[in-house]
Amino acid sequence: MVFKTEPFILNLGPIHPSTHGVFRMRVVVDGEVITDIEPVFGYLHRGIEKLAENKTYKQIIPLTDRMDYVAAMNNNLAYAITVEKLAGIEVPERAEYIRVIMSELQRIVSHLIGIGSFFNDMGTFFTPFVYMFTGKEKITDLLEMVSGQRLLHNYMRFGGVSGDLPPEFLPALRKFLREMPPEIDMYDRLLKENEIVLARSKNVGILTREMAINASASGPVLRASGVKRDMRKADPYSVYDRFDFDVPVACNGDCYDRYQVRIEEMRQSIRIIEQAAAGIPEGEVINPVPLRFQPPAGEVYGFIEGSKGELGFHIVSDGSARPYRLHVRAPSLINLTALKNMLTGWKVADVMVIFGSIDICLGEVDR
């Protein structure tokens, strides 16, 4: 007797507890095994690129907050750097250091949330998530101290940052730097040798080196596949060339490696913040641009190493006060290119683990 099974289509999302927002996957499953998958985007599309064409350059800064909303500082920074490149604005030394500190703090936040929800997807009942959030809250307090906001900071300006550090910030930051490394070690110790975690994530959802490069993956996803590429090292922006840090690389490209790379990156971020906090100079924090800011006509691509990958802004200016075209190279979206190859052949339960290990932010995917 020939036993024939019939595949059926399962819609995961857009309303689903672990799609990290409103993402939808149209999954064809044969029993529990995935035979095909088609990601469906656009449920959070707000047309930020179109909106940007009708706003002045300064008005776009708050818009960038709303892309990757767990790493708003990074978006601000990428946009500010791009416009500065376009208009040739110098940034004061102190502002550069503040930017680096903020950007690295934000990277830790993003990785903490990424790891926390990754473990949620794996089926832990929120415990790692809540642990990660206690760490995240400390950073959020720091960021609130400087920007007045907890989530959407709107802190970077062209030529600097919107305000100087309050006097209580640096002591608080030093306290944080003392507390955080043991905490990260604790998270890692609690999670990395759990037998079930290993069984669920090791050798699961492998993204090979060739595939990762071919699919334009970036950030921790690319580095977990064995490619040592970090824009902070490859093409240092801001003052990153002055700091001593390593680029963590793993070799298998499985979910566990992506988790490990994120943990290690948090440690490196702490190192960078320590150096930046020690070496922060006195002085101005902003080199003000004119109220009616009109960069020269031209085209520019600016980028940073965001927490999820290479975050780039492509701006075409026609010399007016509004950009002619603003395009965002969204790492969250582009990292999803290889999703189908990573998922096919795995089980329904693995979908969420693999998807969670890519760590996307829907605000950035759909923009």
Partner: protein, 367 residues
């Protein structure tokens, strides 16, 4: 009057009318006590998980949040009762009852003091096994009748999982039966001058893990894996029908904790305190351990769950049964602790041996 009551609560009433009165009163008592105490257990679980997750847990309604489950009950009772259009209506209605009723029935044979139980069946253990497997029927009915793909997958998983774990569960209970020389739970408790957990560590190990799978608790909660299947088999249920499932799930946890306490921790036996308090304490202890596991571990994948049942638990249960049987039949006058040590050695050697050969992760496994 008091005399009648005393007779009715004991298990061996003399006359026919006393027999019926006993059944009525005790049956009602069990249902009332179980359903109300489940609320307390829900509160306990939420508080405990709260503490595990560095947060207070529910603490607003009533003292220490004790009234929180009551508030939840009121909320869930006032919800709209939705039946999907294409659901199989009759089965959809019956399913919650089918999954709750057997759970309550199990308590009929659990003694709360010497000979104080609803029915002292001489086939108590067999009865427990037979009744408890009906629960999976209710789950499957719900999953099938809901006309939902998630619930269908959940139903399939439930049957596969519960049927597999029944086997080690039964075999681990058989070890206890051999030692006690009786299938009646009352006699099993009386036989435990030394709690059977000391004489049967391997048996308890298997029993506990298999019952975690039987009651769908982490790490075997694949049926209601909220990160994959949203809610699993009860996804389409709302209102009281959902509450019935919720109740059934917690009742099961409580009943299996009570069962574990009875079979392995000496049930109502204990110095100074009244027997029922001892039983309750031991139940709470086991239940808290289940909650602890829930707060700690991620979820296994379905093929890993099946592998674990057939390749790890079942051989261990069989070996344990073999050792127990041999020691009782070949050397009946041997001191009891020999069995205990043999079982412990078996457990340690087996776990070490197995963990050497078990490699976490691995390629996709075709079902």
């Amino acid at each position: 009057m008091t005399e009648t009551l005393l007779i009715t609560v004991s298990a061996r009433p003399e006359t026919s009318s006393e027999f019926w009165l006993h059944l009525l009163l005790f049956g009602l008592g069990i249902i009332i006590v179980l359903l109300t105490s489940v609320m307390l257990f829900i509160w306990l679980e939420r508080r405990l998980i709260g503490r595990f997750q560095l947060r207070p847990g529910p603490n607003r309604a009533g003292p220490f949040g004790l009234l929180q489950p009551l508030a939840d009950v009121i909320k869930v009772l006032t919800k709209e009762d939705i039946i999907p259009n294409r659901a199989d209506k009759i089965i959809f209605w019956v399913a919650p009852v089918v999954s709750l009723a057997p759970v309550i029935l199990i308590l009929a044979v659990v003694p709360i003091a010497d000979s104080v139980l609803l029915a002292d069946l001489n086939i108590g253990v067999l009865y427990v096994i037979a009744i408890s497997s009906i629960v999976s029927l209710g789950v499957f009915m719900a999953g099938w009748a809901s006309y939902n793909k998630y619930s269908m997958i959940s139903a399939m998983r439930s049957v596969a999982q519960l049927v597999s774990y029944e086997m080690p569960l039964i075999l681990s209970m058989a070890g206890v039966v051999i030692l006690a020389g009786s299938l009646s739970l009352n006699d099993i408790v009386k036989a435990q001058s030394i709690p059977f957990i000391i004489l049967q560590p391997a048996g308890f190990f298997v029993f506990f893990i298999a019952s975690l799978a039987e009651i769908n608790r982490t790490p075997f909660d694949l049926l209601e894996a909220e990160s994959e299947l949203v809610a699993g088999y009860n996804i389409e249920y709302s209102g009281m029908k959902f509450a019935t499932f919720y109740l059934a799930e917690y009742c099961e946890a409580v009943v299996f904790s009570a069962l574990a306490a009875t079979l392995f921790f000496g049930g109502w036996q204990g110095p100074w305190l009244p027997p029922i308090i001892w039983l309750l304490l031991k139940t709470v202890l086991v239940f808290s351990f289940i909650v602890w596991i829930r707060a700690t571990l991620p979820r296994l994948r379905i093929d890993q769950v099946m592998n674990f049942a057939w390749k790890f638990l079942l051989p261990l249960a069989i070996l344990n049964l073999l050792i127990t049987g041999l020691s009782v039949s070949l050397w009946p006058e041997a001191p009891l602790w020999i069995t205990g040590i043999a079982s412990l050695v078996l457990l340690v050697v087996y776990v070490l041996f197995w963990s050497k050969f078990f490699k976490p992760g691995g390629k996709t496994v075709a079902v």
